[in-house]
């Protein structure tokens, strides 16, 4: 048995979609302004900037002082518990908790905003499509617009999509307190001591460092192409130029790996980088990690026991 839809006039769908588009456009424009306001960009020039991963290590807060292994276990455990939530209200509480962490750590907001903006396209797809595509179950609230009978709008789908968005935002807001409060080398050392193979951490460190180098290289090659009158487009000539551009980037990078590796060996590299002195984990660190895990478990229990009506 499918539930009887509530019928709204057809223009409300068009109006609603228009409003949604306008709101989405305005908020993404606003965030973009906030994030890039300081940086002047020349028109038509692609944005080559790479953000700084561990930009705010100088701060002083309980999160900054937290031992890195306990921080990783506590926050990643919390993240996995948060993504298991199924209700809008508990997901909103999780989002509020991670947002409050930003205030505790006094980290700048622009990086977190940029993270939310990066997900907006993918999550917007869910918000737009899921209310229409969720099949009707008994007990659902359906809204039908005018005489568009084949396209009912399911509130359960909207609830699900909104929950996904809130969970994604909650975990994304957790990333800055997790990564920016300690130098990258220390975070990777923590991961290694937790059992992640040392090779992964070293490769990440090298790839991170060299992505700045190759970004610069690509930028120089792109300015050269622009100087010679290159017009980006999807015609045969422009794609040919893109293919040669990529090929040249790879040739240069493979040649550079040899030089980099020789230089590393000459400086005494023996399959590992020097690491900072390992921090000991105190009882306070363990307690804080336990607190985060308990918080996550409490959220999950509340989600499954009290809010399982949807």
């Amino acid at each position: 048995m499918t539930p009887q839809p509530i019928i709204l006039p057809g223009w409300s769908l068009a109006g609603g979609l228009l409003l949604l588009l306008l709101m989405g456009g305005a908020s993404s424009w606003g965030i973009r302004r906030l994030v890039r306001g300081a940086r002047q960009r020349r028109k038509g020039e692609p944005d080559w900037s790479l953000p700084q991963l561990d930009g705010a290590t100088a701060g002083d807060s309980p999160i900054h002082r937290w031992e890195v292994r306990c921080k990783l276990v506590g926050m990643l455990g919390f993240a996995f518990l948060v993504v298991s939530l199924q209700d809008l209200r508990t997901a909103a509480v999780a989002g509020a908790i991670t947002l409050s962490l930003l205030f505790v750590t006094r980290l700048p907001f622009d990086r977190s905003l940029a993270r939310l903006l990066a997900m907006s396209g993918f999550l917007g797809m869910f918000l737009l499509v899921m209310p229409f595509s969720a099949p009707a179950h008994p007990g659902d609230t359906l809204i039908q617009f005018g005489n568009l009978e084949s396209l009912p709008w399911n509130l359960r789908g909207l609830h699900k999509a909104a929950t996904i968005c809130l969970k994604a935002c909650a975990v994304a807001l957790l990333m800055e307190p997790l990564l920016a409060t300690a130098p990258l080398t220390r975070t990777l050392q923590g991961l290694r001591r937790l059992g992640v193979p040392a090779a992964i951490g070293q490769m990440l460190l090298l790839a991170h460092r060299y992505s700045y180098v190759f970004k610069h290289e690509a930028w120089r090659m792109a300015s050269g192409m622009r100087l010679r009158g290159f017009q980006p487009g999807s015609n045969r000539r422009a794609l040919g130029a893109f293919g040669n551009f990529l090929g040249m980037l790879f040739v240069r990078s493979f040649e550079r790996t040899e030089r980099v590796y020789d230089a590393m060996q000459a400086r005494g590299y023996r399959d590992r980088f020097p690491e900072p002195e390992p921090q000991p984990a105190t009882a306070k660190d363990l307690l804080l990690a336990g607190f985060f895990l308990l918080l996550g478990v409490a959220l999950l229990l509340a989600d499954r026991c009290y809010f399982s009506t949807f």
């Binding site: 080559w48 993240a79 996995f80 993504v83 992964i200 590796y261």
Partner: protein, 207 residues
């Protein structure tokens, strides 16, 4: 398109973490240990290349490059993709940290398949390498889109509509990727053909 946090059921997220850990261990074993820093430096290039947007009609697409990673790195490609995706997730939030395993499977398995395909059929002539390279580029993106759709549908029938839209959104990427990969491979086979031999492997050739 990268899967963000909170989309996949937790069992799927954890299961794909376990599976990609197993494949990454195999990939590490197939790479010569002294070559790991070199793979890392090449990973940085792929990372930068995937930031480049190519205009397509009213929008623009960015390259995914699983086919090219597979063709150039062979079995080391999986570990390169894992590190590249981790970097993208940490720097830009393209793909969530809890969905990293799923994203690595989505891009890494096509790369391994394309690496095998390329080294099996690449032949000797530049023309054939260009053709097979282009096929690899298209095939890699297509497989990645299919895996993405499969992963999304693990959430239940509510996700079918989103999975279909994600598949459709990849069609322009597949076209661009096929052409650009073919041209890049043809450039490499003219300029530096030894790069198309999977240089960091323990054995010279893929089985």
């Amino acid at each position: 398109m990268h899967i963000s946090d909170g989309v996949l059921p937790t069992t799927v997220a954890l299961g794909s973490y376990a599976l990609s850990a197993v494949i990454a261990a195999w990939s590490l074993k197939r790479t010569r240990p002294e070559a790991l820093p070199k793979v890392a430096v090449v990973t940085a290039t792929f990372f930068v290349a995937s930031l480049i947007h190519i205009p397509f009609g009213p929008t623009s697409v960015h390259l995914l490059l699983p086919g090219l990673v597979g063709a150039l790195l062979g079995a080391s490609g999986f570990i390169a993709i894992l590190v590249g995706l981790l970097l993208q997730s940490l720097l830009f939030q393209f793909g969530g940290l809890t969905a990293l395993g799923a994203n690595a499977l989505m891009m890494g398995l096509p790369a391994l398949a394309c690496g095998f395909f390329f080294h099996r059929f690449k032949g000797k002539t530049a023309k054939r390498q260009m053709l097979v390279g282009g096929l690899c580029g298209g095939l890699g993106t297509m497989l990645a889109a299919l895996l993405l759709a499969c992963l999304l549908t693990t959430g239940g029938e509510d996700f079918f509509g989103v999975a279909k839209l994600a598949l459709a959104a990849h069609v322009p990427v597949i076209i661009i990727e096929t052409i650009v990969t073919a041209l890049t491979v043809s450039f490499l086979s003219r300029v530096k053909p030894e790069l198309l031999q999977a240089p960091f492997q323990t054995r010279r050739k893929m089985p």
